[in-house]
Each structure stands twice: as structure tokens, then as C-alpha cells.
């Protein structure tokens, strides 16, 4: 089999699971956040990682892209054990990954065009004019044509996110990671980002990992979903399987049922505040 190579000279012939997690454990200052995560992601698949705040889903994503080191267990990316290889090899793999951060994480001192051009200038020997063309292409893809010379601070929230996606796409990655792509965006803009993810999936057959807690968006873009709760995988399956799941945690998450402890806390707060409220009808209405 002849090894296929893209314009950057990287081998694209790998056909095993793009990501493979083996009993992955991560701790922060002695406290274990992820307690043994196992799953595979196939090429071309879109996996949505669902979970509440503090469930460990962001830590999982950060570990996948190598920003956090596992305390034990393994992260295999494109058939390489991410935590056991040298820094240089890790960088080679990182060039094949694209990451869109929650807040965009665009470099504030550079224009949008320079942001997108940066990975190309750093990692390829392309001519400046070629880089310019590629930047324009990537910005076209995310619907930001003509915004090359804008500073990130001049863009709206949704545009920033699109620009961040353009930067993540710069090196034609095989795996694209999204951290909360629709957080802080209005429903219409958020739907636009979902659409963009679907287009990328269709057009480039990219492997896409999305961390979110937006259910509507998750069901729209996912092939499979994994629900993380308190550092454990609660459920893993296709969108259909998740929809029909009887698992109490899955039902709770999908049907938006509050934690009993939280509900009790609300009752408790209500009990505390109610005697002191004189005859506040408005407050009763709020405290439900």
C-alpha cells in the first residue's frame, strides 16, 4: 500500500481508530477528575461529549489535545500513544489536529488573517502569497470573506468563533476539536456554527469531537454521543440509542431534571427566605 501524503507531506493513510482512550485517568492537585475513560473514535465520525458543569468533559478535551497529562491510562491518537512519545513526535501529531476554543482564543495583537496564517507560517515553507490565498480560502469556508484585516476585538462573538474555526482548519486537520462551540451565542448564530460543523463533516470527512451541553445542537451534529458525569462515562451510543436510553443519568440530563440535592437546596433557601418576606407575591412567583 502506497502511503498517501497531503500537501504538507504528512501521512494520511492511517485507518485505525483516530482516537482511542484506554482507562484514562486525570488528576488535578491530588483530586481525580476522570476515573478511567474508555472509548474509540473512528475516522469521519462526529462524537459529542455531553456533560454538566464540573463533569470533567472539558478536562477530557484538554487531555485529548495534550494540554493535560494523564495520571494513568493512555490516549492514542492516529495509532500513537500521545503521552509516551517525544515532544517532537507530539508536535507532529498536533499539526494534524485543530482546536476551536470556547472563547475563540484568537491572538488579540494579530489580525484575523495573521491568526489564520500563523500555523501555516510556523509549520510550512509555503510562499507568503500562497499563505495569503489559503487564508482567504479558510475564511471563505467559515463565511468570513474580507475580514482578513480586522482585529479579533472588532468581531462579534459568533464571528470570533468562526475565525477560530478558520484558524483550526488552517493546516487541514484530520481531527477537529470544539470546546462549547455555541456557548454565549444567540440561538441563530449558534445554529450557524452547527451548520458549519455539519458542512465540514460532509465536505472533508473530518473526525470531529465536540464538547457541549447544548442538547439541540448535540443531537443535530452528532453521530455518537458520550455522556460524562462526575468523571465517568455514563453512556455511549448513537443519537437514537441515547434518545431511547433508560439510564437514569441519561434521562436526567436529556429531560433536564435538576439534581435532588440542588432541588433540596432550593427548598431550603425558600424556607429560609419565605418567613422574612412580608407578603411578596412577586418573590413567590420567582422562587417557584
Amino acid at each position: 500500500m502506497a502511503a498517501a501524503a497531503d500537501i504538507f507531506g504528512a501521512d494520511t493513510s492511517f485507518d485505525g481508530p483516530m482516537i482511542s482512550l484506554r482507562d484514562l485517568r486525570v488528576s488535578y492537585s491530588g483530586r481525580e477528575i476522570l476515573h478511567g475513560i474508555n472509548f474509540d473514535v473512528q475516522r469521519g465520525e462526529t462524537l459529542v461529549i455531553l456533560g454538566g458543569s464540573g463533569s470533567g468533559k472539558s478536562t477530557l478535551l484538554r487531555t485529548l489535545v495534550g494540554l493535560e497529562k494523564p495520571t494513568s491510562g493512555e490516549v492514542w491518537i492516529r495509532g500513537k500513544n500521545f503521552s509516551a512519545i517525544s515532544e517532537a513526535e507530539r508536535d507532529e501529531i498536533r499539526k494534524r489536529l485543530g482546536m476551536s476554543f470556547q472563547g475563540g482564543a484568537l491572538f488579540g495583537s494579530m489580525t484575523v488573517g495573521e491568526n489564520v496564517a500563523l500555523p501555516l507560517e510556523e509549520h510550512t515553507k509555503l510562499e507568503p502569497t500562497t499563505v495569503e490565498i489559503m487564508v482567504r480560502l479558510k475564511l471563505d469556508q467559515v463565511g468570513l470573506s474580507g475580514f482578513e484585516n480586522f482585529l479579533p476585538s472588532q468581531l462579534s462573538g459568533g464571528m470570533k468563533k468562526r475565525a477560530a474555526v478558520a484558524r483550526a482548519l488552517a493546516m487541514d486537520p484530520e481531527i477537529l476539536f470544539f470546546d462549547e462551540p455555541s456557548a454565549g451565542l444567540d440561538p441563530i448564530i449558534a445554529a450557524g456554527i452547527d451548520q458549519l460543523i455539519l458542512e465540514l463533516k460532509k465536505a472533508f470527512h473530518m473526525t470531529i469531537i465536540v464538547v457541549t451541553h447544548e442538547l439541540a445542537s448535540a443531537f443535530l451534529i452528532a453521530d455518537r454521543m458520550v455522556l460524562i458525569n462526575k468523571g465517568d462515562v455514563v453512556a455511549l451510543g448513537t443519537t437514537e440509542e441515547m434518545k431511547n436510553s433508560k439510564h437514569p443519568k441519561v434521562r436526567q440530563f436529556l429531560d433536564r431534571i435538576p439534581e435532588p440535592a440542588v432541588a433540596q437546596e432550593l427548598d431550603y433557601l425558600q424556607m429560609l427566605t419565605e418567613p422574612s418576606t412580608k407578603s411578596g407575591e412577586g418573590r413567590q412567583g420567582k422562587s417557584r
Binding site: 494540554l67 507530539r90 499539526k95 476554543f101 491572538f107 509549520h123
Partner: protein, 265 residues
């Protein structure tokens, strides 16, 4: 007993801090001197931009302040020298104190205020807005991309600024010399130059070089260690300024002692 334990743990903390400063400086040095031979070119453009910001843009305020310092030194020295009828020594007093001590020190303090704080704020903001993480996921080393150019710029610029500061201080002293001590301008300058040995200028420059390394390491380390949100960036910046001033004085003390004992032989 508890008292000694506290001293012990703060000494340990201090040493650990100096250790991380040295490590950061070492990694920046790797990317500056060894990296280019391993196919990781030094970012000259970024270094030049930093040198412009930290060096050239500091000139107006540095000139003004060191001019005043020179004038103050002359006034203070003359106050005592006058009693011995030795007012003409004012030129050498100003020249020596500027080049050996105050030139490098005042320059360092101004650079801390302008650039050390800016480094901490810039890197701190980048840290909390995940820009540092973004660099890492793009396989761009943050030390190579952000810190090394700052080191190059500062290590080049601080000695240059110090030479300029020395000159401006002497110029400030000459104002007093001409108006109050019967010097002509050129005679004052010649008297200053006569008082100076190459050694005096060099010790000042060696110190300023070390100050440059200290300020950059502290500013960048504080920035990179920022966690949390915007208010933490403010705290990092404050810490960077206070730590830099303290460490610059400490480095100054160590090197002054070193030169003193070396000079004996």
C-alpha cells in the same frame, strides 16, 4: 520551632521561585542560541518589535528621569563637597555614581514599570483567554514564540538604555556644573570622562545585562503562572513589578559585592 519552620519554608519557596526563573531563562536561551541550529529559526521580527517597544519607546521618559537624577546627584554631592572647597569634584562624583550604580538601576526600574509589567499583563491575559493553550495545540512552543524574543530584546536593549542613561545623567550634572561650579560645558564633560575608567562602565553594563534577564524572567513567569480571570492578571502584574524590583536590587547587591572583592586584587 514553628518560627524556624516558617523561615525554612519561605527560603524553600524562594529557592523554588529562583529555580523556575532560571528554568524559564534557560529554555528561552535554548530557543535563542541552540534552536536556530536545529531548524527552529529565531523570530527576529518579533524580537525587533519587542526591542522597539521596550527599548526605543522608553527613551523619552528615561532621558528625562536620568537627566533629573544627574542634576539631583550633582546638587547632593555639591552640598558636601562645597564645605571642603572641592566643588570641582562634582563632575567625577556624578559620573561615577551614574555609571556604576544609578544608571543601571534607574534604567532597570523604568523598564520594570514599562516592560516587566507589560510582559506579565500580556502573557497573563493570553493565559486566561486560552491563547497560550491555543499556541500549544498548534504545536507552537509558547516559550519560543513569546518569551525568547522578549529575552533577546531585553538583553540587547537594557545595556543600550543604560549607556544612554549614564550619558543623560552626566548631562544633568553638567547643568549644575555650568551654572554653579564654574565649569564650561566641555570642561565638565572632559572632567567626567577623566573620572571614569572602562571598568566602571563595564561593571554597570554587566549589571544591566543581568537586570534585563531578571526583569524578563520575572515578568514572563508571573504572566505564564496566571490562573483564573482578569483580576488575577492584575495581581500577576503587581507581583511581577514588586518581585522584579526586589530581585534587581538583590542582583545589584550580589554583583556590587562581587566587583568590590574582585577589584581588591
Amino acid at each position: 520551632m514553628e518560627f524556624f519552620g516558617k523561615i525554612g519554608s519561605s527560603v524553600e519557596g524562594g529557592l523554588a521561585y529562583v529555580g523556575s526563573l532560571t528554568m524559564l531563562a534557560g529554555r528561552a536561551a535554548y530557543f535563542t542560541f541552540i534552536g536556530p541550529f536545529q531548524g527552529k529559526p529565531l523570530r527576529f521580527q518579533r524580537a525587533a518589535a519587542q526591542a522597539m517597544e521596550a527599548g526605543v519607546r522608553a527613551l523619552p521618559i528615561l532621558s528625562l528621569i536620568t537627566f533629573f537624577i544627574g542634576l539631583i546627584l550633582a546638587l547632593q554631592a555639591a552640598y558636601e563637597l562645597r564645605r571642603f572647597g572641592a566643588i570641582s569634584f562634582v563632575a567625577s562624583a556624578v559620573a561615577l555614581s551614574m555609571t556604576r550604580e544609578l544608571g543601571p538601576l534607574i534604567t532597570a526600574v523604568i523598564v520594570i514599570g514599562r516592560s516587566g509589567s507589560a510582559f506579565a499583563a500580556e502573557l497573563g491575559t493570553m493565559k486566561v483567554s486560552e491563547e497560550i493553550d491555543a499556541l500549544e495545540t498548534m504545536a507552537i512552543n509558547p516559550v519560543s514564540f513569546l518569551v525568547a524574543p522578549k529575552f533577546v530584546a531585553m538583553l540587547l536593549m537594557l545595556p543600550c538604555l543604560t549607556i544612554w542613561a549614564n550619558f543623560m545623567g552626566i548631562l544633568g550634572g553638567s547643568l549644575f556644573g555650568v551654572l554653579q561650579a564654574d565649569f564650561t560645558f566641555w570642561r565638565y564633560i572632559i572632567a567626567s570622562l577623566d573620572a571614569l575608567f572602562m571598568r566602571d562602565v563595564m561593571t554597570g553594563l554587566v549589571k544591566s545585562f543581568m537586570f534585563g534577564a531578571t526583569i524578563t524572567a520575572v515578568g514572563c513567569l508571573e504572566g505564564l503562572n496566571t490562573t483564573g480571570g482578569a483580576e488575577q492578571v492584575g495581581r500577576s502584574t503587581t507581583r511581577a513589578v514588586v518581585m522584579s524590583i526586589f530581585l534587581v536590587i538583590l542582583v545589584d547587591l550580589v554583583f556590587t559585592m562581587l566587583f568590590y572583592f574582585l577589584g581588591e586584587h
